[in-house]
């Protein structure tokens, strides 16, 4: 059931050392690309393989790389987005901590594909240990001349910089990330222009998620056909899923895309904790709408989840049991989004604050008639009206919760208390 492509060696503590990594076949793809492939070929191969962005948006990686204008005289930049902050997601961190060289290799190949000679990895400020690991990996790569000048004698130069952020969810959004990397406030930029044309320092830039880049060496080593033989028609390959919640065996699991959710929850995850029944599932990180227990067999791929009314997102599966108040869940989430809103655009900045105040008072037994309609109206005024998707991310779980669990909300308002009291899993 589990695929072991990205996670093949993460249980080997020696994998973080470059010698072990190379003994396991590491940097062979990078060498192959430099010695025998042209940038366009690399882009083609990745396009054919069907790798899609693993950070949450699901945009085809090869296509994103092909947007970089080739005749632009400005330098190109590759940025790896390691600002993993989507609530529930912890997959990038495990790759950085246990297999950092795979990320370096993925970044290097991607940089070559877009003819970039300077790559950055932007790691969220709280990830002190993963950042240390990445810095160690980059140092080791430089020492072995796998980064730097004239790599493998090919004449190609590539420098890599490890940069840590200051601790903001919004810096996971690519334009805010670029602003933060440049030393500015981490606030989103308006688009157009898009980063592929005008990104870091106004130069063509590609921003990819850690996991996306980690897939790339495997595509090069084994071929696009091999990679696309896994998964479904539109969602190719394998993905890491971070499973958490009221589950017996939480953790990261790598699965072929298209695997049913029930496999993840019941088989790999060991099923619900004793005494807990499934009530709701967040399939792709807190920004994605809820799934109900009857949807447990939905296939884990971009299309199937979209059809089911949610999103694959970052692949963070949060399992919620019947010993949880859904209003409390939403209060927890809106508090997060309000805290993380960058404050640039009016709807998100003021709207998340207002929503938090209304939802909080409902949860704490002071809800007033008309509050639900007010929340729905505010959500409509935020959805699609903001500079970046944080506003949408804040609103979608609220709308989903009102749609699927309206009875709990109504109960709160009428009876001034939870319909179901939240019990913490560690009580």
């Amino acid at each position: 059931m589990e695929k072991k492509i990205l996670t093949k060696y993460i249980d080997d503590p020696a994998q973080i050392d470059i010698d072990t990594f190379m003994a396991h076949g590491g940097y062979k793809a990078w060498e192959k690309v430099l010695k025998s492939m042209k940038p366009e070929q690399v882009i083609d191969e990745v396009k054919k393989s069907g790798v899609r962005g693993r950070g949450g948006a699901g945009f085809p990686a090869g296509m994103k790389w092909s947007f970089v204008p080739k005749d632009n005289p400005k330098p190109k930049y590759l940025v790896c987005n390691a600002d993993e902050s989507e609530p529930g997601t912890c997959k990038d961190r495990v790759l950085m901590e246990r297999d950092p060289h795979s990320i370096v290799e993925g970044m290097a190949i991607a940089a070559f594909a877009i003819q970039s000679h300077l790559a950055f990895i932007y790691i969220r400020g709280e990830f002190a240990y993963p950042a240390q690991m990445m810095e160690k990996a980059v140092r080791e790569a430089y020492a072995k001349k796998i980064l730097g000048e004239n790599i493998f004698g090919s004449g190609y130069n590539l420098d890599m910089i490890v940069h840590t952020g200051g601790g903001a969810y919004i810096c996971g959004e690519e334009t805010s990330l670029l602003n933060s990397l440049e030393g500015e406030r981490g606030m989103s930029r308006i688009r157009p222009p898009f980063p592929a044309v005008e990104g870091l320092y106004g130069c063509p830039t590609v921003v990819n998620n850690v996991e996306t880049l980690a897939c790339v060496p495997h595509v090069i080593n084994n071929g696009a056909e091999w990679y696309s033989s896994m998964g479904t028609e539109k969602s190719k390959g394998s993905k890491l899923f971070s499973l958490s919640g009221h589950i017996k065996k939480p953790g990261n699991y790598e699965l072929e895309l298209g695997t049913p959710l029930s496999v993840l929850i019941n088989d790999l995850g060991g099923g619900m904790l004793d005494g807990h029944n499934l009530k709701a599932i967040i399939p792709g990180g807190s920004s994605t709408p809820f799934l109900k227990p009857e949807q447990i067999n939905v296939k884990l791929d971009y299309e199937s989840l979209a059809e089911a009314g949610s999103m694959l997102g970052s692949g963070a599966v949060i399992v919620i049991s019947d010993r949880t108040c859904m209003v409390w869940v939403i209060e927890r989430l809106i508090h997060f989004y309000k805290h993380e809103s960058c404050g640039k655009c009016t709807p998100c900045r003021e709207g998340t604050g207002w929503l938090e105040q209304v939802i909080s008072r409902i949860e704490h037994g002071q809800g007033m008639p008309g509050d639900l309609e007010k929340i729905e109206s505010l959500c409509e005024n935020i959805l699609g009206r903001t500079v970046c998707p944080l506003g949408d991310a804040a609103v979608m779980p609220i709308q989903s919760s009102l749609k699927l669990f309206r009875d709990e909300w109504a109960y709160h308002i009428e009876h001034h208390r939870c319909m179901v009291k939240t019990e913490f899993a560690f009580n």
Binding site: A168, I170, R185, G186, I190, P192, K338, H339, E340, S341, C342, G343, K344, C345, T346, P347, R349, E350, G351, T352, G353, W354, Q357, M368, K374, N381, G384, R385, T386, V387
Partner: protein, 844 residues
């Protein structure tokens, strides 16, 4: 819809079609059609932010509302700006904006000119669904007053801020300052200064003007008057030669503030704080309001009749017995065209003297008409064209203090249009930080450096066009890059690099400023600039500006208010007036010398304070004391008025209307905001009344006189330049080893001339007088910030507190000239090019 050409896009807004260049935003296209779309965070001169979201429009085939300020047009777009969806979107944004906005309107200065008020009234709802307590940015828990002073003139109330970020964006994008930023995130974002700093740049007032709500307000305007009780008049800045267009806000006989009146050819809507707060000279506090006459040792108030007849009597007496050449006149170049012209005409046709000068802060002024300098200074110059330059050279000028609007245009050319800047100055300047190479030469060696650049240009091949290297050798001293490097202190590589940049520039722009204009080597420097312009093809490819500082310097020059106006102008005066005095006139410094030698008996000084600003203060004092008769007309009491026999109250520019000629030669009219204060009179009226007493008035109807003034203003004053190199030989000035340190006398950022010290707002910005020195020099003499330094020259000494500069490395000291408490002109020598002093620490 067919495109006119590849660069043009057609779209439809509200059913009306328009074709605009590619890259235009929907908002800009709508403005061209006259279609109104509300905005908060959009500004015509800033990059669009897309933050406020009020400018939503609905575009067919697009599911979401799009912000028109940031969405470029696409062919065939169909846009609706007043559909139901758009209206609902606007109501939603306004609702969000208002939920934490305090109900301060009754006490908020912005009421009546507030974008939030206007847009809510127009597009919003009058009821709110928000039923929580509004978030407060509490400054003091015991008070409900949340105002906080960010700088001398800026008060911030963060509760009112709608986070459009215009203040921060303008501060960084346009002014290049870093004293204001946003802290925290989300709806608790605060606009604040970095710790320990305040907002006090020369452009800080613009941040208040640009704020759409009452979050940032002016200390000066606070609670003074409601904007709907005021009227505005169109005026021009009376300080800088840039000629920024302004509006004076007044009610009855009081002036309250100045705001910009955007003129894209000059100021683009940005004003320096001197322009903005300097209107306070039109307020009665401290102003001279009636004539004074010295009687029995002290100055007593008298009537105009008494004052004027006393002056007329005295002047007639001197004229009849000794000749008009014993009377001299100095006039401020900040006065209007009519006053300056009347002054010159008065002296020449009624006093029969050519002793007229508007240049009263310079020394060693020439005794013959300036040739090279006048020719160079007369070249056409356009502020707007600075944007088009690919290479900008700023010579001998702290351009930000002298011409704040030109400075912003230079910034714009560099940051937005990719121009490259070189500065050649005797000390580091703020603008120099933007340059490719900030060439700080040894004080007093600019012509040597420019000669070196010419030699570098010759090496780059362009000398062959205008004469050969032999000609260079003949005319220039030094004539090699090596020698120039040795004299000026700029390395050979840098000189050659600069020369290369000049040779390759397609649209060069050269600007020279006050340190050149006031230099005793003005002619030589102008010659050096000409040589550079010749060899670098600047005349054909670009523009050259030798800029004088004051609002009407160019006007005063054009109207001949100087002792040697040049043969062409003399002829014109003779023709217009039917007469012209034979004896050549004295420049202002010679007038003082003549008075010391008792060859000059009377001086008529209008709007100038030579006691404070003319070099060699002691000598000026001696000269004024030895005068038989001194008449001074000014706005305020000053060191010079205190020595006068008759003091006349002068009206400020806001108290009458007239014209200034800016540095481009553009004649701009300003209107009167109030009537003359007290018994003050405009300069031209004083002169005319005096003329009437002596012989006959110069004019009876002001408008007819304006025609006469026009004939001078309309003359094309561009003079031809030589077609070959001119001689420029550098001579090292003798240095007295006892006084080794070069001293530059400059204006404080927020001061201009001797009037600004009397204004409330600007004097707060400027603080106390000080001397600015580099940290190396400070270490050498053992001082830290605030220690008192004694500055001594061969003619005087002054004690000033030290201010260690973070930007100055050069071995010079900077002293400020506008502080009456510590006049620094007493340190300057009349016959020196470079002031040198001895500095020592004063034991406390």
């Amino acid at each position: 819809m067919a495109e006119k050409d590849n660069n043009s896009v057609s779209l439809t807004i509200n059913g009306r079609e328009i074709s605009v260049p590619k890259g235009t935003t929907i908002l800009e296209a709508a403005k061209q059609l006259g279609i109104y779309i509300p905005t908060f965070c959009w500004h015509p001169k800033l990059k669009p932010a897309g933050a406020c979201r009020i400018c939503y429009v609905e575009i067919e085939k697009m599911p979401k509302l799009m912000v028109s300020c940031a969405t470029p047009v696409a062919p065939g777009m169909i846009v609706h700006t007043e559909s139901e969806k758009v209206k609902q979107g606007r109501r939603a944004v306004l609702e969000f904006t208002l939920i934490n906005h305090p109900l301060d309107c009754p006490t908020c200065d912005k009421g009546g000119e507030c974008d939030l008020q206007d847009l809510t009234f127009r597009h919003g709802v009058d009821q709110s669904r928000f039923d929580f307590d509004k978030y407060r940015f509490i400054r003091d828990k015991k008070s409900t007053f949340d105002d906080f002073r960010l700088g001398p003139e800026i008060i911030r109330n963060q509760n009112r801020c709608i986070l459009c970020y215009k203040c921060v964006r303008a501060n960084t994008e346009i002014f290049g300052e870093d004293d204001l930023g946003a802290f925290q995130r989300g709806n608790i974002t605060e606009i604040d200064t970095p710790p320990g700093r305040q907002v006090d740049s020369l452009y800080s007032g613009n941040l208040v003007e640009i704020c759409p709500v009452g979050a940032l307000t002016n200390t000066d305007w606070r609670y003074k008057i409601r904007v709907w009780n005021t009227q505005t008049v169109n005026s021009i800045c009376p300080y800088h030669a840039d000629g920024a267009n302004i509006k004076i806000w007044k009610d009855r006989q009081n002036v309250f503030r100045v705001t910009s009146r955007r003129n894209d050819a000059i100021d683009e809507g940005w004003l320096s704080d001197v322009t903005r707060y300097g209107y306070q000279i039109a307020k009665p506090e401290g102003r001279l309001l009636n004539p004074l006459m010295k009687k029995g040792g002290s100055q007593v108030a008298v009537t105009w009749e008494e004052a004027l007849s006393a002056i007329a009597r005295k002047f007639k007496d001197i004229k009849d017995n000794k000749g008009g050449v014993c009377i001299g006149g100095m006039i401020s170049p900040q006065l209007d065209c009519t006053s300056v012209y009347a002054f010159s005409k008065f002296f020449r046709t009624i006093i029969h003297s050519n002793n007229v000068d508007f240049r009263t802060e310079y020394r060693m002024l020439p005794e013959i008409p300036e040739d090279m300098y006048s020719r160079m200074a007369s070249q056409e110059f356009s502020i707007a064209d600075i944007e088009k330059a690919d290479l900008i050279m700023v010579l001998d000028s702290d351009i930000m203090k002298e011409h704040p609007n030109v400075n912003l245009r230079i910034r714009k050319a560099i940051t937005q249009k990719g121009a490259r800047l070189y500065t050649l100055n005797p000390v580091e300047t703020k603008t120099g930080a933007l340059s490719v190479d900030e060439m700080v030469f040894r004080v007093g060696t600019l012509e040597a450096l420019l000669n070196g650049v010419c030699a570098g240009l010759a090496e780059a091949g362009s000398a062959s066009k205008k004469g050969d290297t032999a000609a260079l050798k003949k005319c220039l001293e030094p004539h090699t890059v090596k020698d120039a490097a040795q004299i000026s202190g700029i390395s050979e590589e840098r000189i050659k690099a600069f020369a290369r940049a000049v040779a390759h520039a397609q649209r060069p722009c050269l600007i020279a400023g006050e340190w050149l204009t006031e230099s005793s080597m003005r002619e030589k420097l102008a010659g050096a600039v000409h040589n550079l312009a010749l060899l670098g093809s600047l005349y054909e490819k670009g523009q050259i500006g030798l800029l004088a500082r004051a609002a009407n310097s160019k006007g005063a020059k054009k109207l001949g208010a100087l002792p040697h106006p040049g043969p062409g102008m003399i002829e014109k005066m003779r023709q217009t007036w039917g007469e012209y005095p034979d004896v050549p006139g004295l420049a202002s410094d010679r007038m003082i010398r003549a008075s010391v030698k008792q060859e000059l008996d009377a001086l008529f000084i209008v709007g100038v304070n030579p006691m404070l600003t003319m070099p060699d203060g002691q000598f000026v004092r001696e000269g004024l004391e030895k005068l038989d008769f001194l008449v001074v007309a000014d706005l305020y009491e000053s060191e010079t008025t205190q020595m006068a026999d008759v003091v006349l109250p002068l009206s400020s520019w806001a108290e009458y209307g007239d014209r200034f000629v800016n540095l481009e030669g553009r004649v701009q009219e300003f209107q009167d905001a109030i009537k003359p204060l007290g018994q003050s009179r405009p300069g031209y009226m004083i002169v005319n009344d005096l003329a009437a007493q002596l012989k006959s008035p110069l004019f009876s109807e002001k408008s007819r006189f304006a025609d006469e003034v026009d004939t001078f203003l309309n003359e094309n004053s561009v003079m031809p330049v030589p077609e070959t190199l001119v001689e420029v030989r550098f001579m090292e000035d003798k240095i007295n080893p006892e006084f080794p340190t070069p001293m530059l006398v400059v204006d404080q950022e927020h001061h201009f001339g001797h009037w600004t010290e009397k204004t409330k707002s600007l004097s707060v910005f400027c603080g106390e007088a000080a001397v600015e020195i580099s940290s190396a020099l400070a270490e050498k003499i053992g001082v830290v910030n605030g220690d008192i330094i004694r500055i001594e020259s061969e003619v005087g000494k002054v004690n000033l507190p030290a201010r260690i500069s973070e930007t100055i490395d050069a071995e010079v000291i900077l002293v400020y000239r506008n502080f009456s408490a510590s006049p620094v002109n007493i340190l300057q020598m009349r016959k020196r090019r470079v002031d040198r002093v001895k500095i020592t620490r004063v034991e406390s």
